[in-house]
Point group: C2
Chain length 311, copies 2
């Protein structure tokens, strides 16, 4: 079949436009970066999500991308495609969600565009200020430590519960579902630590994809020796017949930051994390190589939550 | 019915977010403005439009908005929603269209986002630099002259031909169809003349809507005494049983600039237009009032190409 996956599609645009990566945060002037992220209801919105949560999520994706680069968001715009006859209460809900996100994440929403469309689509475009220097996806070097801003699994676990319409309860399930409906971008983590990163990315396409992006773009291998699984994930997975490792590495919709830090800077980074009261989890190291990722000495599958090819 | 029109929808967002107008170009820093515009295939793309023309058009809308404000575009991003299984040749066509628009309009496309969606959606987000001061929609003053950058009618005429699948030929029809498939933003006009404007807007929602936007936001009336109809429009309209005035005022998808110029600056503006080799058409004057528009002493209907209510 001649069906293109997301990576192939991005490559066509990137090549034609002469840019490195269509999907990354883009420099647009002195210390300024721009990032757009489109939320599409048929692929990005579980049915249980309330209008305000949908609007908020559309802002979270951009905020997370900027956070991974240590950029402070200065302004955002939201373009909307709304199905004909969308109810006033739904539109008010979206508007409240934007207002809430604006306050919660300290981002002024300055304008936008409204249109009629077949399904609900929200494109958020965010302008940010780089505080120190911007880490790329391509800066990881042999010997660097690989770190993450949080533990993985809850969004994938929560999504599986939501899509099944499960009424399961318990602390883990509750937190997992909350992590899907009200994700948190790691703004404090990025602000405190980006200056130490040799490379970084946000994990919204999944941890495996994120690690591979860094490994490939940096021309290195990544060896993970500590699987960053959230507390309770293993137990949850066993109970519901799911694979915890799958949930950690190939889930996606997770707004953690994945980065590399040169070893000599790690002590300082740990202190900065402590001062900022954010977690910093070392999960592995960077080795000489050609874009491969290993977990406990075994090659990790290079796949995840890719929009196109997985469906 | 409780069906909201576009203006009502914009007002809900604008109010909730505490911004003046969701739909206008937005200041985002010293001399910087941001504008997003979403193109939706089910409402904005006639079936005859080729992929490269679709991509180009999505860039034209933003370029036109910036031109009306005298802003020089510095960078753009494009977020795409693509139906599953979109052919490689179609995607290549889109990419070529972006590259072409980038070159044609002098706008660097720096990045974007790709997603799966039910229909083709492109959101273009453009950053621009204000060269002098930015004219608002609200600055028109009693006594100002109302001007436009070109003559109206061809896009509406062309669209009616395209939607009918007409095989009509002739110079006017050819130009009219071209104006739909390959619209031109008035960048030179904006760059040369924006410094003289007391108010301005681009005419993509239709000339009537644009005049009303200025009149309402400025708290004035506008009296049009010269209908800016394109050469050949009257003849075309008669031949095909259409109303020329309707095509001029209520068409839309026209990327002209509608502005007001204080009378003392008009001579200078005319000279600047001549030097820049752009047309400048005075069509009426601004009078004391409350947001009304008159054409040859008759009240103009306040309607046009509004996405929601017209369908």
């Amino acid at each position: 079949m001649n069906r293109l996956n997301e990576r192939e599609i991005i490559n066509i645009f990137a090549q034609e436009l002469g840019i490195n990566d269509l999907d990354d945060v883009s420099p647009v002037g002195k210390n300024l970066v721009l990032k757009c992220d489109m939320l599409v209801s048929s692929t990005d919105v579980p049915p249980q999500m309330k209008p305000w949560q949908i609007a908020r999520k559309s802002v979270v994706s951009c905020a997370s991308d900027l956070a991974a680069k240590g950029a402070r968001p200065t302004a955002a715009m939201v373009s909307l495609g709304l199905p004909a006859g969308t109810a006033r209460v739904f539109i008010k809900g979206l508007a409240e969600g934007f207002a809430r996100a604006s306050k919660e994440f300290g981002i002024k929403i300055v304008g936008g565009d409204t249109n009629e469309a077949v399904e609900l689509v929200i494109d958020c475009c965010m302008l940010g200020k780089i505080v120190s220097t911007m880490p790329q996806r391509s800066g990881a070097k042999q010997g660097d430590l690989v770190v993450v801003s949080g533990l993985f699994g809850p969004p994938a676990a929560g999504l599986s519960m939501l899509l099944k319409g499960s009424h399961a309860s318990g602390d883990f399930v509750k937190r997992a579902i909350e992590s899907v409906l009200e994700p948190m971008p790691r703004q404090k983590f990025g602000a405190a630590l980006a200056k130490f990163f040799s490379s970084s990315i946000d994990s919204s396409d999944g941890l495996a994809i994120s690690l591979y992006e860094i490994a490939r773009n940096s021309g290195v291998d990544i060896w993970v020796d500590t699987i960053p699984a959230a507390a309770g994930l293993e137990e949850f997975a066993t109970k519901y017949g799911l694979d915890a490792k799958e949930l950690v590495f190939h889930g996606g919709e997770e707004y953690e930051i994945v980065a590399t830090i040169p070893r000599p800077k790690f002590r300082q980074a740990k202190l900065a994390a402590k001062r900022a009261r954010v977690n910093l989890y070392p999960i592995g190291i960077v080795k000489k190589g050609q874009g491969r990722v290993y977990v406990n000495n075994k090659r990790l599958e290079d796949r995840g939550y890719v929009h196109f090819s997985q469906r």
